[in-house]
Amino acid sequence: MTTLRPRAVGTPLERLDGPAKVTGTARYAFEHPVEDPLYVHPVQAAVARGRITGVDTEAAAACPGVAAVLTHRDAPRLEETGDEELAVLQSGRIAFRGQLVGAVVAADAETARHAASLVRIAYEDERPDVELRADRDDLYAPETVNPFFATDTGEGDVDAAMERAPVTVDVTYTTPMEHNNPMEPHTTVAVWQPDSPVRLLLYASTQGVHTVRTALAPLFGLEADQVRVISPHVGGGFGSKGMPHAHDVLAALCARAVPGRPVKLALTRQQMFTLAGHRTPTIQHLRLGCGTDGRITAISHDVVEHTARIKEFAEQTATGTRMMYSAANRRTSHRLAALDVPVPSWMRAPGECPGLFALECAMDELAAACGLDPIELRVRNDPPQDPETGRPWSGRKLVECLSEGARRFGWDRRAAAPGARREGRELVGLGVASATYPYYASQGSEALVRHEGAGRWTVRIGAADIGTGTWTTLTQIAADALDAAPDDVTLHIGDTALPPATVAGGSSGLASWGSTVVAAVRAFREQHGDDPPPGAESRAGTPENPDQKKYALHSFGAHFAEVRVDADTGEIRVPRMLGVFSAGRIVNPRTARSQFIGGMTMGLSMALHEHTVLDPRTGQVVNDDLADYHIAAHADVCDLDAVWLDEEDPHSNPMGTRGIGEIGIVGSPSAVVNAVFNATGVRVRDLPATPDKLLEGLDALRA
């Protein structure tokens, strides 16, 4: 399978978009110069459940500079309304607080915002139902969980095995609702062009221009090629820009209301907390049983999570548990409560991230319960093949990651007994956790390779760079495929005018697009040989990978964390973190390390800070800004590093890569929380780990 001979691949090329980004001249969606734009400010529902009974737009419309006011009463009708998240302003029904109920289009942003505040909406509302509990009587099993996994799995008899097991752990972990919060707000600039073949032009902040086009074109009764989406630079997404959201539709609706004029819509940070997706809260019941030798005989992982009433998103929280460790008796399940909440969606490593938080903390508990070092427990339960499918691993090097990490991190200095290491007023602890992430590669991309003459090449594919480094790394892959230097290759991405590309999601981007580019080069050589004329070009689609059905392809990793807990205040600081990864071939060590440490940093942030609060009385997101939804700041992140095993995956794709965008966040919160236990003896089972959860335990430790 691995056919690409690495030359540029594997070198730490500096980002090609670096100079543009450090000067701020790289253009994000809102920044493309457009002629004489209008500005959109959305109006949001002030109730979480009910229907609109009255609309008064008079004051808003009377503001000088207002070009249009839209509500469900007068907004253009959409051709399709099956996806209710995208059926914007099509009915007066309210399904969550913050839902779009109107918009003002005005000559400047200040006027639009002010006028939006003058739109009066009357509601008939009911008390919302937003509280997730495991004992709800309306939990249901979805047909599948994201993206296509079985909802429940089972093998053997977990209950009987738990009965027999001499050592057991039976615990419930919870993770809160969380928000992606990319630094660039979700923005869309839309132009309705009645006289152009491209009827709808969008500059959108998205992880996949073609995904946006595919979703939006039918809503407006357009063919795909009547919609063009442009997105060369994206200020982060972490899943929230993986699918179009309501604001994309709203921008297009507003554009249609003022044909020929560009309209600019940027969600405010506050609006992003209801309109751009989020990670569902989870309640996870973990049961583990093992012999006194630490060999696991039973694992069950039962998950309860929420979804929106208007659109189901079923996160695959327990899927990591299906393949992580050996056990003859295994069971997983997912149950959903459909609530009056905003629509959940992808957030970095949906499924694996919250799921392995619970699993890897429970493993730490099991290690303590049977008196084993937590690394040794994992080694003893490392399965020889995928427990779920029975397929051979394409490469499972978890044990190597754990050993390498233990050596580098100084794991032997960890005191086995919790609360035993004290330095001044600080309690010091070390923690470990495993990581995994499946290898995904998507079919459906195409690439166009063109020889420009004199050894210069152009490669076109509608891929995305959301900070992942695509501009650079896909150029490296193309260069090696062409046997050219990266300098001789010009890459074009981020535009539906280019050949189609799949979404940057599931850590699948570079694998999918890279395979496609390699296939296009191969087609080029077959068509044009080794001495092609200028202007020669070839196009090819993503090749099939027969190995993907024969092998279990997953990446693995080991996280290590040192925490220091202030014995008086319970403040938790993380002076050191290390991740060791097995992720196939690394295309660019410089940008890859950034992705790994970026994921780990987000994991640290999840462990200590992140928590979206829904007020059960109103269904509102209470802490909807960056002052109260804390993400890690500079001062939180100290000596944090990532390394990887030098390898290639022989079964993944021509490059031998496996995807690296998400594994950094999987397991890292567990390493931090396990370290907190080692430092203090307090087991935090409900994220985030905040000082208030430690105070009682610290008092006990002092006594």
Binding site: A46, E110, R113, H114, S117, R425, D568, T569, G570, E571, R573, L608, H609, V613, D615, R617, T618, Q620, V622, N623, A627, D628, H630, A632, A633, H634, A635, D636, P688, T690, P691, D692, L695, E696, L698, D699
Partner: protein
């Protein structure tokens, strides 16, 4: 945001006269809180009178040996001032623990004192809030109350004052100089901020149109030179306090007995909270952890907690003890 008129004041008198004459006018200092509130609709003035460029930017020693800080002095400049660093470390540390480098470069001394609560419900105009809209109710009661007051709250408002600087100044017995339409007056900082009672819409005792022109610190003593400020927060920086403590101790070296003490708390009440009961317990007591714990307990005995903020009582207790212990150990 409603359209408004902007004026740059030529001098303090003109600024005061302009604002005093118009109930819908307000002063604009650094703007870091006011602009925020205008965007949210929390504040909707029809006129801003910019006082940030008035000649109130000096930090100077007073004839009596104290320090007079102009109201327009930026937080970062005040924290970096040599006399503040040497003589009033609690103030320097409080300033440096607040906000971020950028915000401290913009925020002014007067504006910092007058910043308003970060209560979520106060900042969200779609929810009831007696502070924002008197008589509308308090959404924080029974809501997300994790950051709310445990001391001095009322059934009308449980918000906390967010300033770090004010807590440092309070422990240092600062005085506030104010200019109003009727002339100048001074008042102890301790009297500036109010408890909510039944009128939480008023954060301070200042009348409309009164402008803070300066803050004055009394002469430094051996005790204030050893003062400090400790801010407890989840995020290691750029976060408001869960609880904070400004303190100073004067301990007799021979007997080990506390001669005098200053303790002020942040994050616990509608105003920066002077811990007078704790100070009373400390004076004359041995400088031991046990005394510190008793003092903290005396101050927090009146605490009333809710679901989400009960942790603040043990946290404030532990932090008071830790700060006093650190001060004692640092002197040895």
């Amino acid at each position: 945001m409603i359209p408004f008129e902007y004026r740059r004041a030529a001098d303090a008198q003109e600024a005061v006269a302009t604002v005093a004459a118009r109930p819908d006018a307000v002063f604009l200092g650094g703007g870091t809180n006011l602009v925020d509130h205008m965007k949210l609709g929390v504040a909707a003035p029809h006129m801003l009178v910019d006082v940030s460029r008035l000649p109130l930017t000096e930090v100077e020693e007073t004839p009596g040996g104290g320090l007079r800080v102009g109201a327009a002095v930026r937080n970062s400049d005040l924290a970096a001032h040599p006399l503040v660093r040497q003589r009033y470390p609690a103030l320097a540390r409080a300033l440096l623990s607040g906000a971020s480098g950028q915000l401290r470069n913009t925020a002014t001394t007067g504006g910092n004192l007058l910043q308003r609560t970060r209560c979520r419900y106060f900042q969200d105009v779609t929810t009831p809030c007696n502070k924002r809209e008197p008589g509308s109710g308090c959404a924080a009661i029974g809501g997300w109350d994790r950051h709310h007051a445990v001391l001095g709250a009322s059934e009308h408002c449980i918000a906390v004052h967010p300033s770090d600087m004010a807590v440092g100044l309070l422990a240092l017995d600062a005085t506030v100089h104010v200019l109003g339409a009727d002339g100048a007056r001074s008042l102890p900082l301790a009297d500036l901020h109010r408890l909510p009672g039944d009128s939480p819409e008023r954060d301070t005792v200042l009348a409309h149109g009164e402008l803070i022109t300066a803050v004055e610190l009394p002469p430094a003593s051996a005790m204030t030179r050893w003062s400090t400020y400790r801010k407890v927060r989840e995020r290691a920086s750029y976060a408001f306090a869960l609880v904070s403590v400004a303190a100073a101790l004067d301990v007799d070296d021979d007997s080990g007995v506390v001669r005098d003490a200053r303790v002020a708390l942040g994050g616990v009440a509608h105003k920066p909270w002077r811990a007078g009961r704790a100070e009373d317990v400390l004076r004359g007591a041995p400088a031991t952890e046990e005394s510190f714990r008793l003092a903290a307990g005396a101050e927090l005995a009146a605490a009333e907690v809710r679901d989400g903020n009960a942790y603040k009582v043990p946290l404030a207790r532990n932090t008071i003890v830790a700060v006093l212990r650190d001060l004692t150990e640092a002197r040895r």
